[in-house]
Symmetry: C2
Subunit: 391 residues, 2 copies
């Protein structure tokens, strides 16, 4: 026994890379204080009390029925996607589900289209598994005409309609919400070109209530088989629990549910999904969300105030109404790496826009990972860095 | 809140399909009584106490360092694979890892060779993702000459060396342990033909101590990059926790660890893996294994006794020295489906051999899922069924 120790000095058990002396607004992490640690502790105990050893057996392939029921009802609320449990597949998180979809697209030889600015690791998951990924020109928003042209061109070269990966709500990295008109126009193009759509809604639950968010694409599509929506508890409860969900047609859900990996290993994250089911059905998840949104809104405001009106000419800030990110557009004459260099020299960091798209001119600031005072101080340093880089 | 309920009457939250009136020795499930439910409850609490919110953050991409250290030391014990944490990747279970490897093989266009009798869902995971799967002729054991011939033939047709999927220890479905000579011969063929090997060791921990089990292929291979070994806590602790591990060269582990899915979502099953880490470092996992092996050995004996000397001529039983399964070979003149029909008419069931390979002539009985008395009664009914089918 004496050979092994649970903890070693300063041993990192998380993905985060500590950067001493830097307030790092780079990664999309939630502040440890905002993670639903205590809620999930209680939920684990409740799941074990309710289901006993069944909580530890091979789980139902599509996920625990009580969680699917809850998520179907949640999706069906006003303006949402009318659906039942049969439209819900519990996943091991968005990254895992993207990987599963990527493997299927790769097998078919389907090309994937993305927004010009898109989640870099989402794109990398597809590319690594052999999917050809093509960015649709058009910033900041997907342009329907460009989308059509790109879809037609790639369909011709690959011999089949491409698929599209898009994050319409509280977009990573820009935080933008795609308008209802754009959503409809995009779906019209998808329908005309036979394109299937993967809708990344990882941040959808983090809505600060500042604007009316249009319905998800799964609710707007004429053909329910053409869109799957990916949702996550990673951004709202905790990423360490590895639970998310997919909304899709019964046919799509049933096809994914009966895949060999699930028939072999059962539902992914079975025990964790039961804990989440306990948190959802008890109401503690909803209560947590209300408080989390309030906290994130406070942090957004703390990060935003020093920026507004203070950035040099040609710089502009997008004010997000949900999610984790503020995006700062920078003028063509300024190098994003120069801004980052100046920022790090002043003790703050953020993410380079070029990570998210070749033509991106900007920087992404995550305001979810630090308390308001630290964010305000970091934002002031960021302003100074922008001024220095623009000089 | 009143809308949602954790439990509905008789709602299944597990993968198991109850079959009233049947003692089902078909699926490879562990009896609920033998699942490490209470151990894992305590381990979850200990993980949260030790690491707090870090247990809920994005986990280290290769898995928690304390678990990797424990597993490296476990692998390095006498006759094992000398290794360090850098040779260990924590996985979300064998099925998930097979799927990840399958996606990579599919992307490369690599053909997968399997034993003539092999884990059916393992094979299906590869086939579904577009990998061409070829069974190497030869029962009950992989024949080195057949392996070489098949490897050369598929290399010629696909333009690159194939990969090999093999379960050398307590094989599913036959329970057999591949001899040291066969292991060496197989590895020699792999080396000569440039074949990489995926070694499925899901049942390796369930060793009843009846024979000396040869070292794993990762310990025997001259080229450490040529083999990865897949291990699991699903068969020893509980499948609902979704934690396993991979043993491979530093290069292979590092390549898998830096894949986009892990860079995006962190280590799979992070919180669950920390609970397992707590159970491993406290010694409770090892203590559990000792008792589990004893229980499984009792159950094997209970299932086996009624069969020995009682089956009709031409039927034979393989006595497993570990794992979950007894395999019964049947004569060419008898149809496995006829045996199953007769068995189910008598209130017991098992798995058809043909599930595991086109040329298989036999049936698989899982003795892990029922208490000894039920197993003995089911085995007696199985004997009667064999007699009826052989008549």
């Amino acid at each position: 026994m004496g050979l092994f120790h649970l903890t070693a000095p300063e041993e990192p058990i998380t993905q985060a890379t500590p950067r001493p002396g830097i307030t790092d607004l780079g990664p999309g992490y939630l502040d440890a204080e905002l993670l639903a640690t205590e809620l999930l502790r209680e939920a684990c105990l409740e799941a074990l009390e309710t289901w006993g050893p069944s909580a530890m057996a091979y789980g139902a392939n599509a996920g625990p029925p009580p969680l699917r029921r809850f998520l179907a009802a949640k999706a069906s609320t006003a303006g949402g996607t009318a659906c039942t449990s049969a439209n819900v597949l519990v996943t091991g998180g968005t990254s895992t589900m993207l990987s599963e979809l990527a493997a299927r697209l790769a097998g078919e030889g389907t090309v994937l289209l993305t927004e010009a600015l898109t989640y870099d690791l989402g794109r990398a998951i597809f590319a690594e598994l052999g999917v050809r990924v093509v960015a649709v020109p058009g910033l900041p928003d997907l342009d329907p005409d460009e989308l059509r042209r790109t879809a037609v061109r790639t369909a011709r070269s690959s011999g089949k309609p491409p698929a599209l990966y898009v994050a319409p709500t509280f977009h990573n990295p820009t935080g933008r919400v795609l308008s209802l008109d754009r959503r409809r126009a995009m779906l019209a193009v998808a329908e005309q070109t036979g394109m299937r759509v993967i809708e990344d809604q990882a941040y959808a639950d983090l809505d600060y209530g500042d604007e009316i968010v249009p319905p998800p694409l799964t609710a707007l599509a004429d053909d329910p088989d053409s869109v799957v929506g990916l949702y996550s508890f990673s951004k709202s409860l905790a990423p360490g629990i590895r639970v998310g969900w997919l909304i899709g047609s019964e046919k799509r859900v049933s096809r994914l549910e009966t895949g060999a990996e699930r028939r072999s290993g059962g539902g992914p994250s079975h025990f964790a999904a039961l804990a989440v089911a306990a948190a959802c059905t008890s109401g503690s998840f909803d209560a947590h969300l209300v408080e989390l949104r309030r906290q994130l809104r406070l942090r957004r405001d703390a990060a935003l105030s020093p920026l507004l009106g203070a950035l040099p000419p040609g710089f502009s800030v997008r004010v997000p109404t949900g999610g984790y990110f503020v995006w700062v557009d920078i003028p063509a004459a300024v190098d994003d790496r120069a801004v980052l260099r100046e920022a790090e020299a002043r003790g703050m960091s953020c993410a380079l826009g070029r990570r998210f798209g070749a033509d991106a001119r900007g920087l992404r600031l995550c305001f979810a990972g630090h308390p308001p005072a630290a964010l305000a101080a970091a934002a002031e340093r960021f302003v100074a860095a922008c001024r220095a880089a623009a000089r």
